[in-house]
């Protein structure tokens, strides 16, 4: 019977071993937002008492909110502001029941608006909400910015390596591969690898980039970042932040991976056609555009497009010279400084 008591004791200890913080100076709370068939967790962390909440819109599609907490930058940002790590519809630990036809970018914009409204309801309408979208999160936040007057629910937009125009992204990525390959070959760095990239990029018809090419761009972009990291063109990220524990964390690895893959596949064809560069003219709220110079996943050409197109009087672009697709990791100090400077000025 001792074994039975041991098992029961372990279970009871684990169930009641957690507590919720209610101190707004450093909050740690999970809430859910129910929107059109989906229940989406929003992990509220950091100093919500500052009156400023950064809504972190994760990448993917297929990622999760808390994976953005595993970085040194998040530690610093949470000391100053509240951060809402949101698991989007069908990703992370989101649950619900809805039809495949309801998995659309428009519905996810609607979800994002519900999350913004929830934060304002929970912490007061005077709370400033700033959306920070990275990669696919940049696609989603860009769509939010140009949909009706939704942008006015936000106090600022930070686009970090955001994929707001996929057809343009694909062409720009091929051009970037070609130009960087020539530079690196001339410097004698990872020559055989870059020669392979050059041959591959030259063979692609940029007037007709297929879905298969799109997948290859992503894969080769990661490889290229690895070589540039080896040759010190990209700065290695520092350990920090709060990693979601593989087995004990709030985000169940199996759930997140499987639901994320399903979501990614459902959204794929729609996302491949999202082209918002021209529509960004509608954006008038303060905007900060942050990009890694060596981002081949979403090349910096898109950063310049966005900066030149948006109509905001308060706008700034920063290209991080030693970063790839995730400048918040590669140059976390500079990234954090730009974010805090931008927010202080709001």
């Amino acid at each position: 019977m001792r074994l039975f008591y041991l098992i029961t004791g372990m279970v009871i200890f684990t169930f009641f071993g957690c507590k919720k913080s209610t101190d707004l100076t450093q909050i740690e709370e999970t809430i859910y937002v129910r929107s059109t068939g989906a229940d989406m967790p929003v992990y509220l962390r950091g100093r919500v008492g500052s009156g400023i909440v950064i809504l972190l819109v994760h990448g993917g599609p297929g990622g999760n909110g808390l994976e953005y907490r595993a970085g040194k930058y998040s530690e610093e940002i949470e000391k100053k502001y509240g951060v809402a790590y949101w698991d989007q519809r069908g990703q992370g630990m989101s649950q619900g029941t809805y039809k495949k036809a309801e998995v659309t970018v428009d519905n996810m914009v609607f979800d994002m608006n519900a999350v913004v409204n929830t934060i304002k309801l929970k912490y007061g309408s005077a709370t400033k909400v700033i959306a920070l979208g990275h990669s696919w999160g940049g696609t989603l936040t860009a769509k939010y910015m140009v949909t009706d007057d939704l942008q006015y629910n936000l106090d600022g937009w930070i686009e970090a390596d955001g994929a707001h125009d996929i057809p343009r992204l694909n062409k720009a990525a091929i051009e970037k591969f070609k130009s960087e390959a020539k530079t690196q070959i001339a410097l004698g760095n990872n020559t055989s690898n870059w020669e392979g990239i050059l041959i591959w990029a030259n063979a692609i018809d940029t007037s007709n980039i297929t879905n298969e090419n799109g997948g290859d761009i992503n894969k080769k972009a990661r490889e290229a970042e690895g070589w540039l990291l080896e040759d010190n063109f990209i700065q290695a990220g520092e350990e920090g932040g709060v990693k979601n524990s593989l087995l004990f964390g709030p985000t169940n690895l199996l759930t997140s991976t499987v639901t994320g893959m399903q979501m990614s596949s459902l959204l794929y064809s729609e996302v491949e056609e999202v082209a918002l560069t021209n529509a960004l003219k509608k954006v008038t709220i303060p905007t900060l555009i942050l990009w890694g110079k060596y981002d081949f996943v979403v090349p910096p050409a898109l950063a310049y497009d966005a900066f030149n197109t948006i109509s905001s009087a308060n706008k700034k672009i920063v290209i991080f010279e030693k970063s790839g697709h995730s400048p918040m990791d590669n140059e976390w100090e500079a990234f954090t400084k730009e974010v805090t400077t931008f927010i202080k000025a709001l």
């Binding site: 074994l3 039975f4 041991l6 098992i7 029961t8 372990m10 279970v11 684990t14 169930f15 957690c18 919720k20 709370e29 999970t30 809430i31 859910y32 937002v33 129910r34 929107s35 059109t36 989906a38 229940d39 967790p41 992990y43 519809r89 069908g90 630990m93 989101s94 649950q95 619900g96 029941t97 809805y98 039809k99 495949k100 309801e102 998995v103 609607f110 979800d111 608006n113 519900a114 409204n117 929830t118 309801l121 929970k122 087995l247 004990f248 964390g249 709030p250 985000t251 169940n252 690895l253 199996l254 759930t255 499987v258 639901t259 399903q262 979501m263 459902l266």
Partner: protein
């Protein structure tokens, strides 16, 4: 670390106590009452839960095979097992599941067994913390704690274990690997992997087993 201690305890207990005299093997239908079981039910191993179940035996097959000087005695049980499970994903979800398993268990001479079971049931997943409700215009209309959603759950499990006797009372120690599939979760399916460690005991009270049909080969 606690899990490994429990696992090692299981294995040691089975090894030390599974040495049954094959000439006097007890029936695995130990008494007239339905066996009860309690187990640790860890989603992805470490996300903790508990499972309570009751076996209803449907059919027993006994086989004796003489091989050289040894007699191999096996007992097979077809059983149905209603069960109740509760597990948590820390800081995100709590899950309540009601299942019925149909299983096939095979015991050897030493009362060590393997089993396979299919299950069908209902899973209710409760959101941690408050849930805020958005209306069709995106406005938040209110919030509530304890909000949940329900899913149809099917599963398959593979298990092994053994019977030990403490003061002549049979106690079964077992572990099971469960694979569940929830539908319609989001716009698709949700597979789950669950590892279970438990004990089954024979109460002298409770629900009486109906006569179990026994086939002797």
């Amino acid at each position: 670390m606690r899990f490994f201690i429990v696992l090692i305890s299981f294995c040691t207990a089975l090894t030390l106590n599974g040495q049954t005299d094959s000439s006097n093997i007890p029936s695995v239908l130990f008494n007239d009452y339905s066996p009860l079981s309690a187990s640790y039910y860890g989603n992805l191993l470490f996300q903790p839960g508990i499972k309570l179940a009751m076996d209803r035996n449907l059919l027993k097959i006994e086989e004796n095979k003489v091989k050289k000087r040894k007699t191999k005695h096996t007992q097979k049980l077809l059983y149905i097992q209603p069960n109740f499970t509760f597990y948590v994903h820390p800081k995100t979800l709590a899950v309540l599941q009601l299942n019925t398993e149909l299983g096939w268990r095979r015991y050897n001479n030493r009362l060590l067994f393997t089993e396979v079971a299919l299950s069908i049931g209902y899973s209710r997943r409760f959101n941690k913390g408050e849930t805020y409700f958005a209306d069709s215009a995106g406005n938040i209309t209110g919030s509530k704690k304890g909000t949940s959603r329900g899913y149809f759950a099917t599963g398959i499990s593979l298990g092994c274990g053994g019977v030990i006797f403490i003061k002549e009372k049979p106690i079964t120690l077992y572990s099971k690997l469960n694979a569940n599939l929830l539908t319609a979760h989001n716009a698709g399916l949700l597979p789950e992997g669950i590892l279970e460690f438990g004990i089954r005991f024979q109460p002298n009270f409770g629900l009486k087993n109906t006569t179990v049909k026994t086939i002797i080969k």
